[in-house]
């Protein structure tokens, strides 16, 4: 079977296998998987509002998927999209609260830029440490995730906090809010989705059509050969990490500008980690990532409905785990579906 078709089939088959295994898990707690999956589909696509809400949930996931996927292409495992998303959203909010005097045409792009720079700067800590000392980005970005988490829960209660109940920042200036594409009942379909799709297209152009993109891919594919060919590895590591962080920062920023209109401590809620599954399902291809994010957004959105029929929404994490596991060891998928030992 040719390689291209196969790289498309592995994620699709992994999703199928994961859903089958998960249905046994649902059976195990005495629930009917058919009812559960029906609720899942109803919750994700069952009405105009459900579809709008799925798209809203997909928007940040495209960006965190791109963030992780971009890292993978450059040979880096950015497991810190979660933290970069938080820092991007937090800094962008601090900026956007104070831009009431600016017209929207300035305030919107500037807020996005600020969020991206903040995410990039935060990710660069890990990039810089890897380039300078060789510290593995998996360990450093996880540490940075926890630091961002605690930092944000401080910032959102003390310096930025307003009101009672859930810790939250004040609302951002209305000139920095993204105009909704349309309003379906109470759900505002954010125009952030356009930004996210544009980001995917830009990333595809950067990776496939520019020499810098070629350098980054070469450094990821075979660092020794790339270095021998005159590519500066250290610079590329920092740059790749920064771009990856900028995408994650943008994910958080769009959540603030288009959905919540303020910073909340719970805003990331695992979306950075979802980026890992999305990048793997999308095989690190920007266009594939859009579809993978849509799948994950639908699963996330539909899982709320599943909760009503008595299936905890954590089942989605189990599904994701199985997908990632199978994509990691794609030879397993080949063996299951080709019914013969493929070069075991």
């Amino acid at each position: 079977m040719n390689q291209k078709l196969w790289s498309f089939l592995v994620p699709v088959l992994s999703v199928v296998v994961a859903l089958i295994i998960a249905s046994f898990v649902i059976l195990m707690i005495g629930k009917n998987p058919i009812t559960a999956y029906a609720a899942l589909i109803r919750g994700a696509l069952g009405s105009k509002m459900a579809i709008a809400s799925t798209i809203v949930k997909t928007t940040p996931l495209i960006l965190t998927g791109l963030a992780v996927g971009f890292g993978f292409r450059a040979g880096l495992f950015n497991i810190g999209a979660e933290g970069q998303m938080i820092v991007g959203a937090m800094v962008a909010t601090a900026f956007a609260i104070n831009v009431g005097w600016m017209p929207a045409v300035l305030a919107i792009p500037l807020t996005m830029l600020v969020g991206m720079v903040a995410g990039a700067a935060y990710a660069s800590i890990a990039g810089f440490l890897k380039a300078k000392t060789g510290a593995h980005e998996v360990v450093t970005t996880i540490m940075l995730n926890w630091i961002a988490d605690y930092l944000s829960s401080y910032v959102v209660t003390v310096p930025m906090g307003v009101g009672f109940g859930t810790p939250k920042s004040p609302e951002i200036a209305s000139s920095a809010k993204l105009p909704p594409l349309m309003v379906v009942q109470a759900t505002e379909l954010t125009s952030g989705i356009i930004v996210a799709v544009l980001a995917a297209i830009l990333m595809k152009i950067l990776l496939d059509k520019t020499s810098k993109g070629y350098e980054l891919k070469a450094a990821g594919f075979n660092p020794y050969a790339a270095e021998y060919g005159g590519i500066k590895l250290a610079d590329n590591i920092v740059l790749a990490m920064a771009i990856s962080g900028a995408l994650a920062g943008l994910a958080g920023t769009l959540e603030v500008m288009g959905v919540h209109h303020r910073f909340l401590g719970t805003l990331s809620g695992g979306k950075g980690f979802d980026g890992i599954s999305i990048a793997l399902i999308g095989q690190n291809n920007p266009i594939g990532i859009i579809f993978a994010a849509l799948l994950m957004g639908a699963l996330r959105n539909g899982s709320n409905e599943m909760q009503f029929v008595g299936v905890p929404k954590h089942i989605i994490m189990i599904v994701q785990a199985i997908i990632i596991f199978l994509v990691a060891a794609d030879r397993i998928v080949r063996a299951i579906f080709l019914r013969k030992k493929v070069a075991k």
Binding site: A135, T140, Y150, H314, M317, V319
Partner: protein
């Protein structure tokens, strides 16, 4: 000045040293797991997930049987199962070890969260199910300071330190250990000499499952007696940092774990110090401390220690 007094107060308080040991113990277990696995050349970032699962399973079986040791036993069994999955994907099927590890972390978070409601009737955290009783060492109880610091400890803390010795002995003083190191440094050469590379790597990864699940079980039934969602809280990764700082050596990993345990206990004591009266809203800043320490240590020491040469590289015959 008040800070200075608070520091003196913390360092002269015997409870602080007990807290350090308590905070270090899960890290010691898990970092030994990392040492076992990576010595044979398999990176296992699933430690975090195995710990979480160990914490959960031990609480479930303690709740079912009323005996926390039975809980620990089942935690180890499930830890072995998870480690076997990692070994299966990354050794037998030569998958990407870091991606497989990530999948297992997610699996643990999913499974523990998923089962909370069906088993305990509510999400978030379980009831207190009982924990392993602390053991008094009579001759240490005579001195007040010793009594309150190391006189009365969880037996699992002794198990952790004994494991350090056992791990060191196995890896550096036995034939099996020699094979483990050979497989981690140069699997081709080891293979040529008739060592079963896959079997030795399976052993390393399975041992990491045993160790990490013990660390997780300590967090729940060893320390607090219940399970909270995501209670491993990044300790699996701090343990990996301890392994690196300890130069992939069990004794080094133990010292590094003690350092990280110390920083966790220190941050804890500082924020609850009656002299400083830290506002509850400022406390998150103190919780950052152990992670910042880990980050700095990793960045400062990494070039000075050396991983096994074939660490993270799948072996193809």
């Amino acid at each position: 000045m008040r800070l200075f007094l608070a520091l003196i107060d913390i360092f002269t308080n015997p409870a602080f040293y007990k807290l350090t040991l308590t905070a270090a113990t899960p890290l010691i277990f898990a970092s030994l797991g990392g040492v076992f696995s990576e010595t044979t050349g398999v990176v296992n970032i699933a430690l975090e997930g195995i710990m979480l699962m160990g914490a959960f399973v031990s609480v479930v079986f303690t709740w079912l049987t009323g005996n926390a040791w039975i809980g620990v036993f089942f935690a180890v069994l499930v830890g072995l199962g998870m480690a076997w999955l990692h070994a299966w994907a990354s050794i037998t099927w030569r998958g990407n070890q870091i991606v497989s590890g990530t999948a297992l972390i997610l699996l643990a978070q999913g499974v523990t969260g998923f089962l909370m409601e069906p088993i305990f009737g509510r999400p978030g955290q379980t009831d207190i199910v009982g924990k392993i009783a602390e053991v008094k060492i009579p001759f240490l109880m005579k001195n007040r300071f010793l009594a309150q610091s190391i006189g009365e400890l969880s037996p699992m803390i002794y198990v952790a330190f004994a494991s350090v010795f056992v791990a060191w002995f196995v890896i550096y003083k036995t034939k099996l250990g020699l094979r483990m190191r050979a497989v981690g440094e140069n699997p081709e050469a080891a293979d040529t000499l008739g060592v079963n590379v896959y079997a030795v790597r399976y052993f390393g990864v399975l041992m990491s499952g045993v160790m990490a699940s013990l660390g997780g079980a300590f967090l729940s039934v060893g320390e607090v007696g219940n399970f909270r969602e995501l209670m491993s809280g990044g300790r699996g990764f701090i343990a990996l940092a301890a392994m690196i700082l300890g130069n992939w050596n069990p004794v080094g990993a133990m010292w590094a774990s003690l350092l990280f345990g110390f920083s966790e206990a220190f941050a804890n004591q500082l924020q609850s110090s009656p002299l400083l009266r830290v506002a509850s809203t400022t406390k998150p800043l103190f919780n950052m401390f152990p992670f910042i320490v880990t980050l700095i240590v990793i960045a400062g020491f990494i070039g000075k220690t050396r991983p096994p040469a074939a660490d993270g590289v799948p072996y193809e015959k």
